[in-house]
């Protein structure tokens, strides 16, 4: 390790933790993580390589347009769950209106595409910016709100956006919806040939790679001082402010970036489904995203990804239950929250800790 010693270290007089400090000497609890491990940046590329392999192989494992379509939905849900986790999990701000930003991304990109003739890949950044800007707007209005109040305000915001989509018929065509939306234009990728995004497997590759890219950026960001700052706001805003953190600015950052990512996910939805109606972005969608984040593990990196995968595939796997499907889904969700309040990631950590204690590997 390099770097100058801080002004407060008395090198020769620094107490060796045990000898000079009665406080440190009194503890007997085992360390939950050894100091060396928290100081070393973890090795991450094997995880990314595995993720790439998994993405490459999934369309071969799940054959047929139907299941590959589910894969596309799953990749979009992963993006949405990560975007919401940034706000709720990392920054601790209750946001119940994330579906609004998904809707903005979908509508802005589609309207630019269909009514103004923009190329798809220009419409995408515009949609991201629009969703992000709206996120900043919400953050500015809600800057003084916390907890439940912020939850209600964001819910109200989603209702407003939904109503605008329904009633601004000259642009959104209201409840009649926009039809005949085409998937992203084909791409020519050298030796791989032409990638046709009307093929759900190819669209899955596109959305999944973008999701992996977003995951990587968020992963880095949350390990950087930005992550330290957001988590300090989540834990205690007054304390964070006493350390020089401007809570309003960083909350706006997380809400804005979360909105932009949801907007990005929204760009791929209309071209996949082919139609766009406001009902696709009802309030329930916000709660589904929230469920993904919570089931996976609030504030963890892989948690929301796992939560999105599980909650996308679970309803499909429950089709045999017929009319009982939604009830089984609801019960499974409730049990999950009851018995794994920290989500699947934390449950796994607990299991692993138990194994380690028993000497099983």
């Amino acid at each position: 390790m390099s770097g100058a010693l801080p002004p407060l270290t008395p090198p020769e007089r620094a107490p060796s933790a045990a000898a000079a400090s009665p406080v440190a000497a009194s503890h007997a609890l085992p360390s939950s993580e050894p100091a060396e491990r928290v100081l070393r940046p973890p090795l991450r590329w094997p995880g990314y390589v595995a993720a790439l392999l998994l993405i490459a192989l999934l369309p071969f494992a799940l054959k047929g347009a139907y299941w590959q379509g589910i894969l596309v939905v799953c990749a979009m849900n992963v993006l949405l769950a990560m975007s919401l986790n940034l706000v709720i999990g990392d920054c601790g701000q209750l946001n119940l209106g994330q579906s609004a930003f998904f809707a903005i991304g979908a509508y802005v990109s589609t309207v630019l595409l269909k009514s103004h003739g923009w190329p798809f890949w220009w419409a995408v950044p515009a949609a991201i910016l629009a969703a992000g800007a709206l996120g900043l707007l919400l953050a500015a209005f809600a800057a003084r709100l916390r907890g439940h109040y912020l939850g209600i305000a964001s819910l109200g915001f989603a209702v407003i956006v939904y109503q605008v989509l329904v009633n601004w018929e000259s642009v959104t065509q209201g409840v009649r919806g926009i039809y005949g939306i085409r998937p992203p234009p084909p791409m020519t990728l050298g030796p791989l040939g032409v990638i046709e995004f009307s093929n759900p497997a190819h669209l899955f590759y596109l959305v999944a790679l973008i999701a992996l890219l977003v995951y990587g950026v968020l992963d880095n960001l949350m390990r950087s001082p930005v992550g330290e700052t957001l988590r300090s706001i989540r834990e205690d805003e007054i304390s964070a402010a006493s350390l020089g953190v401007n809570p309003a600015r960083w909350k706006a950052f997380s809400v804005g970036l979360g909105a932009a990512i949801a907007g990005l996910a929204g760009c791929f939805y209309p071209g996949f489904v082919g139609t766009l109606v406001p009902d696709a972005f009802s309030i329930v969608e916000s709660f589904t995203m929230l469920a993904m984040v919570i089931v996976g593990g609030l504030g963890t990196r892989v948690g929301p990804v796992i939560g999105a995968v599980v909650l996308t595939f679970l309803p499909e796997l429950l089709r045999d239950f017929g009319d009982w499907r939604l009830m089984v889904y609801g019960i499974a969700l409730t049990l999950c929250v009851l018995f794994m309040p920290g989500g699947m990631v934390q449950a796994w950590q607990l299991v692993r800790a138990r194994w380690a204690r028993q000497g099983v590997h």
């Binding site: 390099s2 770097g3 620094a14 107490p15 933790a17 406080v23 993580e33 950087s224 001082p225 964070a240």
Partner: protein, 261 residues
């Protein structure tokens, strides 16, 4: 010596209660001021006025010539003001190391793009901020537990961790709100030694405290408050002789200092 902190006629009212009134303070650079007074004297309100948790109704306050009235807490931290809290406010779910790292918020120097894609400066900042945080944990005797969650620490250890976290902001003025509350005698001894060491490093201290052993052994000057108004200011020895102070604490006019203090 230069005056670091100066307040003139600070006032704060909560509904019908005049919590702080007419507080004028001058704290010299590298000195230690203790603020004492019975419960409800307005000490914690004064701390919150100084650190920006509350804004004063009237009066001025300056840190090293910068006017602070009206500035939010995070802007005051930028001016070199750090604090701990009477009711401990650690980031309980985070590790000890992460608590202290959060205190380095103002001191990172990383090009923007490297936040998303770590490269050279990001990693040198990573190493430097962790070195500093570990040194501060070492300073309060908690380095060996850097990976544990802050919520798992004992009460006294939590107070020390809060000190380490505040020091990570590299303050000029460090305010501690009842740092010895809930500590046993040997912990108070360690705290006293650490606070002296902090002053020796050039940091000015304002300490609100009930533990008179600590106050009398540590402070250069003592500021006594009662019911929101300043009662007396002087050296520890002078305070011990002052009958008004004893009266405030005991509520009767006793002329025997050793009874009260």
């Amino acid at each position: 010596m230069a005056i670091l902190l100066k307040t003139v006629d600070l006032r704060k009212r909560f509904g019908g209660v005049q919590a702080v009134q007419g507080v004028s303070l001058s704290v010299e650079e590298r000195s230690i001021l203790a603020v004492i007074g019975p419960n409800g004297a307005g000490k914690s309100t004064l701390m919150n006025l100084l650190s920006g948790v509350y804004q004063p109704d009237a009066g001025s306050l300056e840190l090293a010539g910068h006017r602070m009235a009206g500035l939010p807490a995070h802007r005051r931290a930028r001016l070199g003001l750090a604090r701990t809290f009477q009711k401990i406010r650690l980031f309980r779910q985070l590790s000890l190391l992460d608590n202290v790292l959060a205190g380095a918020h103002l001191h990172h120097q990383i090009p923007l793009w490297q936040y998303a894609l770590p490269a050279g400066r990001f990693w040198s900042d990573w190493a430097r901020s962790r070195d500093e945080a570990m040194a501060l944990l070492e300073f309060v005797g908690l380095a060996g537990r850097a990976g544990e969650r802050a919520g798992a620490l004992s009460y006294g250890e939590q107070r020390l961790l809060e000190i380490a976290r505040a020091l990570a902001t590299r303050p000029r003025l460090f305010m501690l709100d009842e740092p010895a509350a809930g500590l046993n005698a040997s912990e108070v001894g360690f705290l006293l030694e650490r606070l002296r060491e902090i002053r020796a490093r050039g940091i000015t201290l304002v300490v609100v405290e009930h533990n008179m052993d600590l106050v009398m052994n540590l402070a250069d000057r003592v500021f006594v408050m009662d019911r929101g108004v300043p009662l007396f200011e002087g050296t520890p020895a002078a305070v011990q002789r002052e009958s008004r102070v004893i009266e405030a604490y005991l509520g009767v006019d006793v002329n025997r200092p050793e009874v009260a203090l």
